[in-house]
């Protein structure tokens, strides 16, 4: 117990303290300060030591990720990762969650998620050029699901479309495990000149601190403070916790910041995200080893009577903090005024290593920065790994009477059905460089670098079923699939970002999922030379003790040197030969087939052989670069059958599949073995590819011939492609039409 007396100050009592931090953390604060914190200071500790800002449960494990590589310019630690893409240019990207706000208010929650991730990217001096989104909803039967899908899609579109950054891809799953906690993960990718990158660390003492963007209101102030006495007067109505996004202001903020960045005016810059002014000022000062002093009277305010506490904890959107070079104030003011944005000098950097806040002539906070940042709590939470499920013997799964009917069922199931209803609400083409997006038959989105022949390939991936069954294997698989998707379009995979969504880390079985997934991902990143350059952790995704399935979403970026040399999976034509590259063992554990056809969610996920993954992928990429492989699809969910179905629907052509091996047909068709690709090519080219594979020691198999109007297996089981496509397109619109959904904004 600490000796400090009094233990509480500024009207704080034990209860108020515990609404902000744990008892143990409060003791640490007392020890570090040598006195009791006042209310503003306690609020600052509370947000800075929150899981969201401090990564207190995850930090020790995130350290396991490989974060360096030939192309890595900035890894984790900055607002976004930065990788070299040749010619003095860099790609800047990051993924972030907005799960909880999106569940409470789907439109605004998802919209502000997009806004936040865009700011992380343009803060670094990059013009955002692409958005992605990874969404997980509850069961379609759950009464809230329809409204959530509608609101989230409209919110993501509403923000991205208005800001004018194309939303080029993403993924959407439905599972009862998300009934009480949906996941909304958004990724942004930007482009910059290598020497045009800006970072957050304050560098020099006595530089002015500039606030720009929207005014500060009482938006999203830390839930923990709601019950505190500080809000004595005023009704419930005065305290909205949901932030409303203003994409129009964001668009102006992007243009104004990028304009100022060309003026040699900025020393460093940081967006105000979670914990707003607090985290931005603390991070800027402490990462530069300096101090910072702010006068809150100068903060542009939207409402009257705001307290220092409220200003420091507000999460109002569309704001940035800039440390200017001295004398640059006039140019900054000119630019922000031109864009009709608020701009105010609110403080300066100091050499004290302290955060000092003034309000109405009084010092309302004087804290050493070290304890807030460096000395933030770091937990090694206990974890107990669950027993691994047994593999499912493919021979134990009986073939259904009609494989065509099974394929129809699988391809029109919620996870496999077309998500057009969602992505047709996203402007995928603004900026006029989108080569491939959601509507195009390609395993990754492709965005051309403006004015050049090269392009970025972008994907997001995660198979929560696998992660639930075996976190480590699932973690490896998520990274491997992202790498495979980039490879399948002909890109050189460069690096990943991630968004690690899990339940309550204080429960050892959940912590084990987290550790397992992270270690699996780290292994795959290492093996594939695919470093992690940025990311985000979202914990406590659970309701009534029921956690979400572990969902470590991976966002990956690769480079296509010449966009004319790439692959997609459309264009399959009569008589083309279908080649499966990689080994088919009929892995049906935790598969879509098992779930949709047998009604079972069980078994070990497909094992990930990282060496095979690399070898097979490098082979396929080389064949694409050589101009031979032009129609390529990675094999993942629903295996060969799923990939052939995709190709058939994209090409308007059928396929005659043939198999005479040992596996039951269902296992051969629907097994989700990893490290595989499907290639369609004319007979001569296919023969060459096959020979090359054999020479390279890459397993290769002829799976059939394209042609006709149906997909057939060994001459039977016909499934008409038109019918397949209709069913695949119909599920989501039919589902959404099945109940009342209001226009979401």
């Amino acid at each position: 117990m600490s000796e400090i007396n009094p233990r509480y100050a500024d009207g704080i009592d034990e209860q108020v303290a515990l609404e902000h931090v744990t008892a143990e953390e409060y003791e640490t604060i007392l020890t570090e300060l040598g006195r009791a914190p006042n209310r503003v200071e306690l609020g600052i500790f509370s947000v800075m030591w929150s899981e969201h800002c401090s990564y207190k449960s995850s930090r020790v494990h995130l350290a396991k990720f490989p974060t360096t590589g030939e192309r890595v310019v900035y890894g984790p630690g900055e607002n976004a990762g930065v990788v070299d893409i040749d010619d003095g240019e860099v790609a800047v990207f990051k993924m972030e969650s907005h799960n909880h706000p999106s569940f409470i208010e789907p439109y605004q929650g998802s919209a502000t998620g997009v806004g936040g991730i865009l700011r992380d990217v343009f803060t670094m001096g990059a013009r955002p050029v692409a958005l992605m989104n990874a969404l997980r909803f509850g069961s379609p039967d759950h009464p809230k699901t329809r409204q959530l899908v509608s609101g989230v899609a409209a919110g993501i579109g509403g923000y991205g479309n208005c800001v004018g950054v194309p939303t080029v891809g993403g993924e959407t799953n439905f599972h009862p495990g998300y009934n009480g906690n949906i996941l909304v993960n958004a990724m942004a990718v930007g482009l910059a000149k290598r020497e045009g990158i800006f970072t957050a660390a304050a560098r020099e003492v006595g530089y002015p601190v500039l606030y720009v963007g929207a005014k500060t209101g009482r938006d999203g102030i830390h839930g923990a403070t709601m019950a505190s006495a500080e809000f004595g007067e005023g009704s419930e109505e005065k305290r909205p916790t949901v932030q409303v996004g203003d994409p129009f202001t964001e668009k102006k903020l992007i243009e104004a910041c990028l304009e100022l960045m060309t003026e040699n005016a900025i020393s460093s810059i940081q967006d105000m995200g979670a914990a707003g002014l607090t985290s931005s000022s603390v991070e800027m000062a402490s990462s530069g080893g300096l101090g910072i002093e702010l006068d809150l009277d100068h903060v542009p305010q939207r409402e009257t009577g705001m307290t220092a506490y409220e200003m420091m904890l507000s999460e109002s959107q569309e704001r940035m903090l800039i440390i200017l070079k001295p004398g640059a104030e006039p140019v900054a003011e000119r630019i922000f005024r031109k864009w009709d944005l608020d701009v105010a000098t609110i403080g300066r950097t100091t050499d004290t290593s302290r955060l000092v806040l003034k309000h109405k002539g009084e010092i309302v906070c004087d804290l050493p920065l070290d304890p807030i940042g460096e000395k933030a709590p770091k937990y090694r939470r206990p974890y107990t790994e669950a027993a691994k499920p047994a593999a499912v013997d493919p021979k134990s799964i009986a073939d259904p009477a009609d494989l065509g009917a099974a394929l129809l069922t699988v391809m029109s199931s919620p996870d496999m059905a077309s998500k057009r209803w969602i992505w047709s609400q996203y402007d995928r083409h603004v900026m006029a460089d989108t080569v491939a997006s959601s509507e195009d038959p390609a395993d990754a989105a492709i965005v051309r670098i403006h004015g050049r022949d090269k392009a970025l390939a972008i994907t997001t991936d995660c198979t929560p079923r696998y992660c639930f069954a075996d976190p480590r294997e699932g973690g490896r698989q998520a990274v491997a699939e992202a790498w495979r998707n980039l490879t399948a379009v002909g890109a050189d995979p460069i690096a990943i970002t991630d968004c690690l969504n899990f339940g309550n880390p204080e429960r050892p079985e959940i912590m084990a999922q987290f550790v397992g997934c992270v270690e699996g991902m780290a292994e795959a990143c290492e093996a594939l030379s695919f470093p992690v350059v940025s990311g985000n952790v979202s914990l406590y995704n659970e309701t009534d003790g029921k956690a979400i399935p572990p969902t470590p979403a991976v966002g990956a970026v690769g480079l296509i040197p010449d966009v004319a040399v790439r692959a997609g999976y459309g264009g399959m034509a009569e008589d083309m030969v279908l080649l499966v590259v990689g080994e088919t063992a009929g892995a049906l554990g935790a598969s879509i087939y098992l779930r949709e056809i047998e009604g079972r969610e069980e078994g070990a996920p497909p094992p990930v052989d990282l060496a095979a993954e690399k070898r097979n992928g490098d082979f396929v990429r080389a064949e694409i670069r050589a101009g031979r492989a032009k129609i390529v699809h990675d094999l993942s969910e629903a295996g060969i059958a799923g990939a052939v179905a995709d190709m058939a629907m994209a090409s308007g052509a059928g396929a005659k599949l043939a198999y005479s091996g040992e596996l039951p047909l269902a296992a051969w068709l629907f097994g989700e073995d990893q490290a595989r690709y499907l290639i369609a090519a004319d007979e001569t080219t296919a023969a060459t590819i096959r020979e090359n594979a054999i020479k390279a020691g890459v397993p290769v198999e002829v799976a059939g011939i394209a042609g006709g109007d149906a997909i057939t297996v060994n001459g039977g089981h016909a499934l008409d492609v038109t019918r397949l496509k209709r069913a695949n397109e119909a599920w989501l619109p039919d589902f959404m039409a099945g109940g009342e959904v209001m226009a979401a904004e």
């Binding site: 800001v163 004018g164 668009k251 009709d340 402007d427 080569v435």
Partner: protein, 221 residues
């Protein structure tokens, strides 16, 4: 050919418009800030680009239509200067009174980004002549408020005077009489919801929008 693109805060197809214009004319377009009071002299075309000028707050295009540059644009359009408004630009031109009707919320209430099959309704305008006998083109749409409305009398007049430039082959948004684009009575102002500037580059899947720009150049596609 000398062209200009008007930039409002919240325009986001301004660069796309400029790239398309430069691709077709071989000369960079002048970018004109909405707060300026006059357009440059000697222009052959002004493009009002797509986007969400002023966030589409209040009504799409309403606030932009009242910005300083628009007064000069209205005046110059009256003198015969060709003006092309695309998407948000079309909304701005109706709000500014340069074109008839109004663009309301899509009938389905959702934003729609799709490739839209269109019919070139009259090849007899200075924006469509390059299409010649070609009737069917596909140009992408991306909008929330593209539902064209005008009263019956106005619609009859637009049709009667050959002012309907484009119609949707499959009406995506509830537009009256499937109208996707109209001209003014004098024929020098075209507003259309589909984005021709997004269909000028074969690498991005389609060049059906080229005709609009080539028409202005006087060529045939």
């Amino acid at each position: 050919m000398k062209t200009a693109v008007i930039v409002f805060p919240g325009s986001n197809c301004d660069r796309d418009a400029a790239v398309a214009l430069e691709r077709v004319t071989g000369r960079p377009a002048a970018m004109i800030w909405h707060g300026d009071s006059a357009l440059p002299e000697g222009l052959d075309l002004v493009m009002v680009p797509g986007g969400f000028s002023y966030g589409d707050y209040l009504r799409s295009g309403a606030v932009s239509a009242r910005s300083p540059i628009m007064q000069d644009l209205v005046r110059r359009a009256g003198e015969g200067l060709p003006v092309l408004g695309v998407c948000n630009g079309f909304q701005v031109l109706t709000e500014a009174g340069l074109l008839d009707g109004a663009l309301m919320r899509n009938a389905g209430l959702r934003f729609i980004c799709e490739k839209a099959p269109l019919r070139v309704e009259t090849a007899d305008t200075r924006f469509t002549r390059a299409y010649g006998d070609r009737k069917d083109v596909t140009i992408p749409i991306a909008h929330h408020d593209g539902n064209f409305f005008a009263d019956d009398e106005t619609l009859d007049r637009l049709e009667g005077e050959g002012q309907v430039a484009f119609r949707y082959a499959a009406n995506p948004n509830g537009s009256a009489r499937d109208i996707a684009g109209i001209t003014n009575a004098a024929g020098n102002v075209l507003g259309m919801m589909p984005h021709p500037e997004r269909a000028v580059d074969p690498a991005l899947g389609g060049t059906d929008g080229l005709g609009v720009f080539e028409s202005l150049l006087g060529g045939r596609s």
